[in-house]
Symmetry: C2
Subunit: 338 residues, 2 copies
């Protein structure tokens, strides 16, 4: 599907910040159903029925479907749809560059949307663990499809919930953005875990078990506030057994993870008054060298939007977090939800 | 001055993100005069007179003054005040750690506020070039004072304007945060300019002269939209002659820079409808090795807040910018302001 403007997206590398940036003019035109960016907790019914392209019955307003769940295409009663993003940050067509050495690179990749529920007013945490598990398995399935493209180096799964966490549409959804480069935060993360591995012989994510930082655990996962959390009340859900890629997840683990994710979202919502939030799957580059696997350990990161990122953080890359992780963990551990 | 809570701030290093984070419980209590974080352009008179600690006449509501301009302490008609931040992210007292090797480090440093004008309704760009030049010279003077402390490695000067750019007080001000570590974005920046230098033998900042990216220039400075701008309509003001540290600025250069800064703020305000913004001085670490000076070149970065940072950016460290830099430069170049 062509992007709505004539100009193709492009990736550029800045030698100063040593960072790749995606330039995507088409993105400027995407719609918003929030009147203003202000309400922290927009009415989930604010744009229901006809006007929301993600609602059941409005499939024709969307970019092409990739697959749905249950997988029967003839069945109008879908639970989850994975579709192309109508305003993609990267385009799926065009010749892939053979070299990524220069300062600029064609913006080729995949940008999909996962519609998590057919009904406008249903949020992810309203679903049962089994249903959330299916959303996670939809991510996995789509990642496995995209992973067959040699040119794709990293796949970022993320969710924006609430206007001030960046969501432009309030119908519950997440996104999958497949990139032709390994993004800077991922390289930095792997350099960091490598350093720890070389010093201690251990994977730093296998080691995150400090009692005062634990919120809860399930059969296969542990949820913690990281020791040096970037954001207040940031939560990580980490597989207990070493695993490099999110898409190694099997169906049992998916439901187990879903239960813990649901619990964390409910605790966060109860304790912090339904804040806008993002979650991100922090996985490993697709064709990571074998030697890096021992210190590559995926996790799911949840970030409520409480204070803003301002001049100091933008300038220095250093964040100010007003809440000590052990205090945040205690608060989240102790709050009861149903 | 003691922080309002008992617990001292602390810096912690995360081996995963390889990032230092400041934990500062006192920050959670700082006041806000914005009723909500919503208005993009808050009424500059929203908190004037008695309730604003930064207004002339309310000096006693502030943390201690460091110096004022004009420098005559007996003169109540100050134009600029540099004061301690009442809710500092780092504290100025306590023993400095001798080693910064571990995972956690005491949160010692300096956190000051620069009150840019005595009157509540006056914004920085309302001042004349001479007056803005004095604000820049106040930064310089304070940096020179702090630079005498061996334990301080980097000094971040930044300004938040508008609630959604993080400002909690609307009276025109900026901040100076002096850190006991070199923050990650600064190391990354120096690694990036080093790589360029090793390849080309040139300083990448001395080279930013691509015609289509230039907005304007003054005697000593050039203003551009960087080739790989992280944010839409991001502006850099770069000294034409190679200079590693902002505080090398002399008085003539300060007024010259002030004129160009004022012009950029006015252009941005006219063209983008008075957006919230941040500016940051991107300088070099205080005791940077001689060998790094040839590729260390300071600049002033201006970032309007137009779209948000959301899940993708937080997860990957990769930003999506909907506006090509050459288009942004053209728009800013062509808009007329008075
Ligand atoms: N009919 C349709 N069919 C298919 N897709 C449709 C569609 N109508 C809209 N879309 C797409 O649906 C997506 C909805 O995504 P979100 O609400 O999570 O945030 P968005 O991507 O807009 O931007 C947020 O997330 C990004 C990435 O983190 C940030 O860059 C940005 O600042 C922030 O606002 C958009 O990407 C949009 O392009
Ligand atoms: N009476 C008084 N005397 C002296 N100082 C006083 C004072 N009353 C308030 N202050 C201080 O004045 C400063 C005003 O600063 P800003 O409005 O630029 O943003 P703030 O630092 O609150 O946070 C923004 O910037 C930081 C750093 O970028 C982000 O972490 C944060 O999320 C964002 O909201 C505050 O730091 C406050 O502590």
């Amino acid at each position: 599907m062509a992007t709505p403007t004539g100009r193709s997206p492009e990736l550029r590398h800045d030698p100063v910040s040593n960072r790749w940036v995606i330039f995507s003019p088409a993105r400027a035109k995407r719609p918003s159903d929030f009147k203003s960016k202000s309400p922290e907790n927009p009415d989930p019914n604010s744009s229901s029925g006809n006007s929301c392209p993600f609602c059941i019955g409005n499939e024709s307003q969307c970019a092409p479907e990739i697959f749905r769940f249950p997988p029967d295409l003839g069945n109008p009663n879908w639970k989850i749809r994975v579709i192309e993003n109508l305003f993609p940050a990267l385009s799926r067509t065009g010749e892939y560059p053979s070299e990524a050495g220069g300062r600029s690179l064609k913006g080729l990749g995949f940008h999909d949307v996962v519609i998590e529920a057919p009904v406008h007013s249903v949020q992810l945490s309203d679903l049962g663990a089994g249903e959330i598990g299916q959303v996670l398995l939809a991510y996995k399935k789509r990642i496995e499809q995209i992973a067959t493209f040699d040119s794709i180096k990293y796949i970022q799964v993320f969710k924006n919930h609430g206007a001030s966490a960046g969501a432009s549409l309030s119908h519950s959804h997440s996104q999958i953005l497949a990139l032709p480069v390994v993004p800077p935060a991922v390289s930095t993360r792997l350099d960091g875990t490598k350093e720890y591995f070389e010093k201690t012989g251990k994977c730093s994510l296998c080691e995150v078990r400090a009692k005062e930082l634990i919120i809860d655990e399930s059969t296969h996962f542990i949820s913690i506030v990281p020791f040096a959390a970037t954001f207040a009340f940031e939560i990580w859900i980490v597989p207990k057994d070493h695993s490099s890629h999110f898409h190694e997840l099997d169906s049992d683990q998916a439901v187990d993870l879903a239960g813990l994710l649901r619990l964390m979202l409910k605790k966060m919502s109860t304790q912090l008054n339904n804040p806008p939030f993002n979650f991100m799957i922090q996985t490993s580059p697709l064709r990571v060298e074998e030697s890096r696997l021992p210190y590559s350990h995926w996790f799911l990161q949840i970030v409520p939007h409480l204070g803003g990122v301002a001049g100091f953080e933008i300038g220095s890359g250093c964040h100010i977090n007003p809440v000590f992780p052990e205090d945040a963990a205690k608060v989240l551990r102790e709050v009861n939800v149903n």
